[in-house]
Amino acid sequence: MKPGKIRLGRYTTIVIFGLIIALPLLYLLSGSLMSYKDIVQYPPRLLPSSPQWDNFVQAFNYLTPQTIGNSFVFVGGVLLIQLAICLPAGFALSKIPFRWTTIIFALFLIPLFMPTNLILIPTYIVTFKLGLIGTFFGMILPVAGQASIGVLLFRQFFASLPDGLIEAARIDGANWWQVFTQIALPLARPIIAAYSVITFLTAWNLYIWPLLSGPGTATRVLTVALAPLAGGKFSSISPSISFAAAVISMLPVLIVFIVFQKWFTKGVAGSGLE
């Protein structure tokens, strides 16, 4: 009857629920700038009385600049290796006529519904036997080996490319490597972007594997450095400084997410395993 009114009502509902969901996160951002007095005040306040940027300086007593660099090395390594192994595998399984396609694809699919935490201990043992515990390779390679979703996603995409396109190039004398790098990869840019954002987010937020495989200062990543603050292992530290440390460690993913949000949602929807 009154579409204008209904629309306004729905808008309001959408905004209110959105704010409720985002509220804890907004509180984290706001609290990271509060003084100790502000954050423990009763009744609680939503905004700092005056922004305390010094919290971020103090937070670096717990998170060193090196842990930030380490996180980038870890995530960058995982991402590059995943793309380097999953893209060609997905292409081969969808386009190159080959007897073992079904069996190999099935092999990749088996662990799709198996949480990796279940093989934490034996993965640690394998990595230890390879002499890689305490190194970046030891942190990166086992995570990069979780190739199921990447192979599935890329295979699905390459399979959707028309066969005629590839046959034409083959008839023109292009070999498979040329078809892959010059035709398939450029077309795959959107799906590569989507998968990269998801992988970046997932790897950045990993905790237990980096804790087990690279706990020393040389390889310690942000989540591992931050976790003791959540467990109350430093009861003397002001909550606002813990908040600042948390904000520092999520800032890169927050930026990546906001900039590439479209790709992220597309990727998640696409990997919805239909």
Partner: protein, 294 residues
């Protein structure tokens, strides 16, 4: 004929070369650990000595170990408390924001944003939110004259308190999956429902919900895995399984047996048990839903 055979041999060679890098890492770090995890459950090993074959001893120990059964109960608590609310709330919020209105795309970001948080970041935040003296949740209760204990350090509330946070962390993915599913629901069913005079609530449950059932199955399976598996990260960071092991799930118990008590064999048995539980829930869930939908 001859040339064709030679040609496909080249194809096969190329295919292998495209697949080998992925296969090597996948076999090394997924297939071998999976097999090793099962094999090790028949051995006694402390990471250092020679592994000793002990047959079913580790499994026998399971039946005499009350800790194993209580941590199985904790895992079930995480799953039971977590999966249904995440799925239902995720569905309803997805329907809410699926509206095709200007600027909704921007507002949706509010719903997606918790996805950027690691358990560590989220842990720092929620440990303070739950703080009984200084935290805002306790303050809200105090406004009504109610004193609440430290929810994370009380046996009966530790897991529910962790689950609330985990639901919050899990919602974005669920909402995104449902949004994609809702786009595929044909619009004319809503027109038909409106003609029949069905209200919004009725339309939601008798038209929209059945149409996204396949997505619901996927979401439910993913969330069973999520709540069973990430309970390890969450309780390791926030409660260390406490108080009095009230939040120690199978995953954490297995982790402690391996890395604190160096009992790799028994830790492997606990992992196998966890796998059995997850598979059982998924299978039972599938059977129940496929029966009830017929």
């Amino acid at each position: 004929m001859k040339t064709r055979t030679r040609y496909s041999k080249l194809d096969a060679l190329t295919a292998w070369s495209f697949l080998t890098p992925a296969l090597v890492l996948f076999i090394l770090f997924i297939v071998i650990p999976t097999v090793a995890g099962i094999v090790l459950s028949f051995f006694s090993w402390n990471f250092f000595n020679e592994p000793k074959f002990v047959g079913l001893n580790n499994f026998a120990k399971l039946f005499d170990d009350p800790s194993a059964w209580s941590s199985l109960g904790v895992t079930m608590e995480f799953i039971v408390l977590g999966v249904v609310p995440t799925t239902i709330i995720g569905f309803m919020l997805a329907v809410l924001i699926s509206a095709n209105m200007p600027a909704v795309g921007v507002i949706r970001v509010l719903y997606f944003i918790p996805v950027v948080l690691s358990v560590a970041v989220s842990g720092v935040l929620w440990v303070f939110l739950y703080d009984p003296r200084q935290g805002p949740i306790a303050a809200a209760f105090r406004a009504f004259g109610i004193q609440i204990p430290n929810l994370l350090q009380t046996q009966s509330t530790a897991v529910p308190a962790l689950v609330v946070m985990m639901v919050w962390l899990a919602l974005p993915i669920v909402i995104i999956l449902y949004l994609a599913a809702l786009q595929r629901v044909p619009d004319d069913i809503y027109a038909a429902a409106a003609l029949d005079g069905a209200g919004a609530w009725r339309t939601l449950w008798s038209m929209t919900w059945p149409n996204v059932l396949p997505t619901t199955l996927i979401v439910a399976v993913l969330q069973v895995i999520n709540f069973a598996s990430s309970s390890l990260d969450v309780s390791l960071i926030m409660t260390n399984g406490g108080p009095l092991n009230a939040s120690r799930s199978l995953g954490l118990y297995s982790y402690q047996e391996a890395f604190t008590h160096q009992d790799v064999g028994y830790a492997s048995v606990l992992s196998v048990l966890q796998l059995v539980v997850i598979v059982a829930i998924v299978v039972v869930g599938r059977v129940v839903t496929s029966r009830s939908s017929k």
